[in-house]
Amino acid sequence: MCRHGVLRMPRTLYEQRRKFVKGRIAAIMASQGVGLFGPEPGIDPLAWYAGDPGADLYCASTPAVADAWRGFVAGLARQGGGQLGAAQTQIDRHVAELGIAFRLTGDEQERSWPLGPVPIVIGASEWRGIAAGLVQRAELLEAIVADIYGPQRLVREGHLPAAMVSGSPHFARRMVGLAPPRHHLQVLAIDLARGPTGEWRVLADRARFAVGVGYALENRLAVSRATGGALAEMGTRRQSDFFDALRSGIAADCQRSEPRVALLTPGRFSQSYPEQAYLARHLGFSLVEGRDLVVRDGRLFVRTIAGLKRIDALWRWINTHSIDPLNFDTRSRIGVPGLLSACESGQLAVANWMGGGVVESRAMSAFIPRLCRELRGEPLLLPNAATWWCGGPAERDHVLANLDDLVLSSSFRTPVALLPDGATRQGSSLSGEERDRLREAMSRRAMDYTAQEIIQVSTTPCLVGNRLEPRGFTLRAFLARDASGAWTVLPGGLGRISQSGELRTWLMGAGDLSADVCIVDPVAAAADQPSPRLTLSAPEEPPAIRRGAGLLPSQAADNLFWFGRYAERCQQTARAARTLLQCAGDLESDPAASGTVQRLSQMLYRWGAVSSPYGRALDIAAAALGDGTAGSSVASLEERMRSLALLLRDRLSRDSWRAISRPLAPFVPGNAESLIAAAEATIERGAAIQRLIADTLSRADAWRFLDVGLCLERASLIFQAVNALLPAEPSADDLGALLDLADAEALYIGRYMTRPFTAPAIDIVLLDPEQPRGAIFQTRRLVQHMEALPQLRHSGRADPPLRLARQLHARIEALEAEHVTHAVIDDLVDGLGGLSNAIGKRFFLQQDVLRRRGAEALLG
């Protein structure tokens, strides 16, 4: 029953009205014979909402906030023509368009992000209290971490047991005494739950990585796009100030005036890689992996195509123990050897400073209230779940005596007896035999166990089908320090709505839904005033104007280059498949074409697009398009393009991303029409991808590498096609197929007005400088690109890639169409291969850099 279902209406009246409306709906359903579960336009969908008056966020909200909520939902219903469920479809479309994705543990592929259209709405006055509590907690955590890695007074005076600290796998003894430039903690996530009586509690502190902050940003984007101005109408506070603070806060600790900041990712197999790439792009940080970085003379550098460039600050998404194999775990392959020495010399700021994860232990919550009094002389504003660390004898006895009312967990999230996954269990679920084992384990190693009170969570309206139903939720809040070091709270956060009831894990579960969290100022919105900003800092200076797209790490250049090559090869393979189908279709009227069909099949085989050159043209074309087992079929090439695109995610625009993600057009095997249609769809899409990327990558080095890959592949394939398709005495069909591959049929006919002859055809596909798919057009561009890319030598002599490109171009320029032989072409294809290798050697990471070895092997 809902307090705000109908405002100020006496309960009896309200009940009557509910019955009345329900009756009406039933009548409509009966008369129309269709399932219409939602309200009519104009009717308040929340009127049916059956949340508990105290334990539901909407039902317990103030009248003004409830109005805002109702207005938003009514807007959703209107938008869907009375069908509230349409809002989910709408939001799903925007999620797909934004390319928001995530992985669950064990996922090979990314999943699309589950987002509900109805936000969690919290009034500004309620939020003010929460935000104050969050800031207090952040300050407290900072003080605890600073003490653990500094004077260790808390341990010495007995406020914090030593075994509570040393038990954390995130306690980094190496960091004791190594103070950060200013702060240990720069960005924090704190999980909150609202209890049934309206009080907010802290569930967990996330001091290592603010996982979810990118999703909070993307959720807001998707919801605001899907709902027009509805969020603004509610008076929703903006998120941008928070991200400005985050960006300037991380940069603030740097020594140089124009610092370069990078986001250090563990790589694309990390669960939150899509989020990391998105954040890097949004904040303008370079996205780098450990192997992109190198430490020299106490400074951190990124390997770029223009040599080593300094990095002043890192936002790390790598665990402390993996970040530097020389100073932490030698086995780490994702870290940067010697990174810590750059920190020690004061030349590198890292957010968060290494070792901060020590406060994340579940067991730490048991000491937080006491530490707050000790360190800050004040009570905790936001309580956390009551927690007992069994390392103390009294606590252990309490837990064993009250198991049924507690949630048992591993103190430090490590595997322990009865909790082999390091997670949690309801105490009441333990059998008698398990309780005996627990008692025995606790007699030996009680410090491994922590218990917490069972937390009941409030519900929030969640769209289920066409109706709003109460569902339990938690909220992950985010804090970041601004340039002055003060904490800024993101107004809102990442809402998690659980279908299963399990809300204690790190990341989204399989059945979970996320929700935007809106902090609303209904009064301000009603008065049509701009909503006040949470940060009170003075308006910032606009940044100095800068051009250029920042630095290009060698690894990214490598990926762009190969992306260009695969994209072109993919398109050209689809073209060849189409030409093959067309030639085969002409066989009945033109039996002479059978040689051309064979040669095209052979060529596809040599390109690796099909696993056998023999068989019906229809089957070969189908295999060239869709056979995932052949290494270079369209389907395989697209797969490789997509995995490279994942690595380039921070550089690709949303439109390009969307075009790349679109699957191969379906076709009916054996049906020439549908195969041609699929090949053409691939060609068009390839062109769209190339165009979109060229249009959105600024004309800087990143675009050049993509285009270099593309030109190299295009030139190489057209040369190979000439050799594959033209026998000593080529037929008109052979030449026609070649012209078709180069997209030059119309040009030939327009120019020569006759059937194809060898020399003119070769001139068009190889030597005509105005033909954009011709070979010489590519080599000229390659020369231009090599001239524009940074040179390493200071002697004035050109780097090898430029010299090779010039030589190659000059050789082709000197060719005459009548004298082109297979041997000459083979030679030129080799030359292109040599150029490709030279580019790799000059600009990309060398294999032996990647083969960096740990030297534990030094001892046998």
Binding site: Q152, A163, R174, V176, L326, A446, R852, R853, L859
Partner: protein, 297 residues
């Protein structure tokens, strides 16, 4: 160390200088490197160790490290009585310190010594609540000595204790790891000690196993009064005047004598030669060459 194809950008951590240890005084330490490094630092490591870091800009094909020092050994008396396990667990929890030898630092699993239920169950019969901790640790060391086969080649420097335990075989590093895990499973702080043994025994005593290479043993925390006591399961003895301590950590990974990273993939080989000879009682001298060994013993 020899690298067949040469390596570049080598960065090494050497933990070859003895750290301060009760009952042991080290004099005249020298370290000679035949290839001078581009950069060298010296300082304490995260646990009880002294770390020398070396960085080489130039290509390196071989490196010879020679350390020499004189150690005066005056072992502390073996305590007559140590706390019973029940009391010891409480005492370990009460220590208000996070220092390099704080018992709290040696209670939990670490990268090469994850806690292990099987080893814990194996140890249980010797670890009753009222057993004095030193008796318990010595009983376990004796069982390892009895039940395990000393054999090189069965394990490597990366073998986890569970594997060595299953094989019931290994070298000093494995035996120390198994003893450490067994003790920690029962809430007894236990550390890994890397060091040297005297090469030749005094007249009338047998030559010690592992004496011709670097050696390793365990140390158990026996309460605030007795402190840390070294126990050598390989030789079924207490670590006293035959044992020279280099460093103490949670396991091998914390006190690896030489490790690091470099660029290059060629084959590499390492020779370790150790010689420990008595200067005059009770002092002993450690000199590196003559005898050869492949791994820590």
């Amino acid at each position: 160390m020899h690298y067949r194809t040469g390596v570049s950008d080598a960065r090494l951590n050497l933990r070859l200088r003895p750290a301060a240890w009760p009952g042991q005084t080290v004099r005249d330490f020298t370290m000679v490197l035949d290839v001078p490094p581009t950069e060298r630092t010296d300082g304490p490591g995260p646990y009880l160790s002294h770390v020398t870091t070396l960085r080489y800009d130039k290509r390196l094909t071989s490196l010879r490290i020679v350390t020499e020092f004189t150690a005066d050994l005056a072992p502390l008396p073996v305590p007559q009585a140590t706390p019973a396990l029940d009391a010891l667990r409480q005492l370990a929890g009460d220590q208000r310190t996070l220092g390099p030898l704080a018992p709290a630092a040696y209670l939990y699993g670490a990268s090469m010594t994850p806690l292990d239920e099987v080893i814990g169950a194996w140890a249980a019969p010797d670890l009753l609540p009222d057993t004095p901790v030193l008796d318990a640790a010595r009983a376990l060391a004796a069982r390892i000595h009895r039940e395990f086969t000393y054999a090189s080649g069965v394990t490597t420097s990366r073998t986890l204790p569970a594997e060595a335990f299953a094989a019931k075989a290994g070298v000093c590093q494995d035996f120390a790891h198994v003893l450490i895990v067994a003790l920690r499973m029962h809430g007894i702080p236990a550390g890994y000690v890397s060091g040297y043994l005297r090469t030749l025994p005094p007249p009338g005593r047998p030559r010690l196993v592992g004496a011709d290479a670097m050696h390793a043993w365990a140390a158990a925390w026996c309460g605030p009064d007795a402190g840390w006591i070294g126990i050598d399961p390989t030789n079924n003895s207490l670590a006293r005047d035959d044992h020279i301590v280099l460093g103490v950590g949670r396991d091998y990974a914390d006190v690896t004598p030489v490790n690091g990273v470099f660029v290059g993939g060629g084959k590499q080989s390492t020779d370790f030669r150790v010689d420990v000879v008595p200067v005059d009682e009770p002092a002993a001298e450690a000199v590196v060459p003559p005898t050869t060994a492949r791994r820590t013993g």
